[in-house]
């Protein structure tokens, strides 16, 4: 019989999203070293931010002047993908860390397996969502969730965002576009392609309700048992080290 996956459920609330990045890496190291159980985390943060992908250039992607004026923080993810504006009031972020054996196959296969947790979770909200390869979840053809993965010593980390509400104009006020001459057209295009739970449901669901649906969705998708649990002392120590020495440094965030 296949081994059942046991996941710790952890909720972390931080000022800055950079701290969530440090928690991600600390969790991943602990799971890879067998010090801690795999985990499903819901990440709450307070400062609006721009997250850029591992291989992106801040200068190419972010309007620094606008970020400074609006008090928007910039941070680099350990995962690839694109730049996104992160609004603490409009999105639910999660991070799941599991051994590769629970999401085997190609990288795309593992995205599908893990994104199924969100797709099934959204069904509990009455929404018919679908996985769209490589890393998106759509409702009625429009993107509602973006996800990204990294791997370390047999462990997969996937983190992502679920849009509860969305303000595309605000998003583009801090991001650069490839061609300024067609900025308005690009924004209109994104508005056509992106949706939110509020838009699809006709009301804004509570964060708690979405959180509960995600837990149910991941339980079903991964045949997992999910139990609330604390971070280990190893993780707590690592988080401080990683925040101070990596995620809160310009060497990391502005390295390209």
């Amino acid at each position: 019989m296949a081994k059942q996956l046991e996941l710790r459920f952890i909720k972390t609330v931080t000022e800055s999203y950079k701290e969530q990045m440090a928690i991600d890496e600390a969790n991943m190291l602990a799971v890879a070293q067998g010090i801690a159980k795999p985990s499903l985390r819901i990440c709450y943060f307070k400062k609006p931010s721009v997250a850029i992908g591992y291989s992106q250039s801040v200068e190419e992607e972010v309007n620094l002047k606008a970020c400074n004026a609006l008090g928007v923080e910039i941070f680099r993810r350990m995962t690839g993908g694109g730049a996104v504006f992160k609004d603490p009031e409009k999105e639910l972020n999660y991070s799941i860390i599991i051994p590769e054996e629970f999401a085997p196959g190609t990288i795309i296969d593992s995205y599908e397996k893990l994104c199924a947790g969100i797709v099934l979770g959204l069904k509990h909200l009455g929404l018919n969502a679908e996985f769209k390869p490589v890393n998106d979840i759509i409702i009625n053809g429009k993107k509602v969730s973006g996800n990204a993965q990294t791997r370390f010593k047999g462990v997969i980390l996937q983190h992502g965002t679920l849009l509860i509400d969305v303000d595309v104009d605000k998003m583009f006020s801090v991001l650069k576009v490839s061609d300024e001459k067609i900025r308005d057209k690009m924004i209109a295009n994104v508005k056509q392609r992106v949706t939110s739970l509020k838009h699809e449901l006709g009301f804004k669901p509570s964060f708690e309700a979405v959180e509960q649906c995600l837990i149910k969705g991941f339980e079903q998708a991964l045949n997992a048992k999910i139990v609330p649990e604390e971070l280990t002392s190893f993780e707590k120590q690592k988080i401080i080290e990683l925040y101070n020495n990596k995620y809160n440094t310009d060497d990391w965030n502005f390295k390209r």
Binding site: S57, E60, G81, V134
Partner: protein, 105 residues
């Protein structure tokens, strides 16, 4: 030994090229043009692609330094460097085509 003055002339050109399919691949490079065969002096590869492991891109940038902008030489470096990596968003051929665009003008 007599060295022709012309051969001492070193020109470094900074150039950005890109390809955009599902994901953006942007290459910014300094090209050393003092010989018949232009060389990559420095290179930065950026974009919203996914590389597994992520650090393979920095490794590739390091290995491309000093390499001639010539198809075979570039292909060897790309294939060696990416042989154990998974890239989602561009192929080795896209990368090669993009690097070769640096030769133009």
């Amino acid at each position: 030994m007599k060295i022709a003055l012309k051969s001492l002339k070193v020109v470094v050109v900074k150039k950005t090229v890109e390809v955009k399919k599902d994901k953006l691949l942007r290459i910014t490079a300094e090209i050393h043009k003092d010989k018949n065969q232009p060389l990559i002096q420095d290179v930065r590869i950026t974009g919203d692609f996914f590389a597994h492991p992520e650090t393979v891109i920095e490794e590739l940038e390091a290995r491309l330094k000093g390499i001639a902008l010539q198809e075979q030489a570039l292909r060897v470096v790309i294939n060696n460097c990416l042989k154990n990596a998974t890239i989602i968003g561009f192929s080795s051929q896209d990368l090669l085509d993009c690097l070769l665009k640096l030769k133009g003008s």
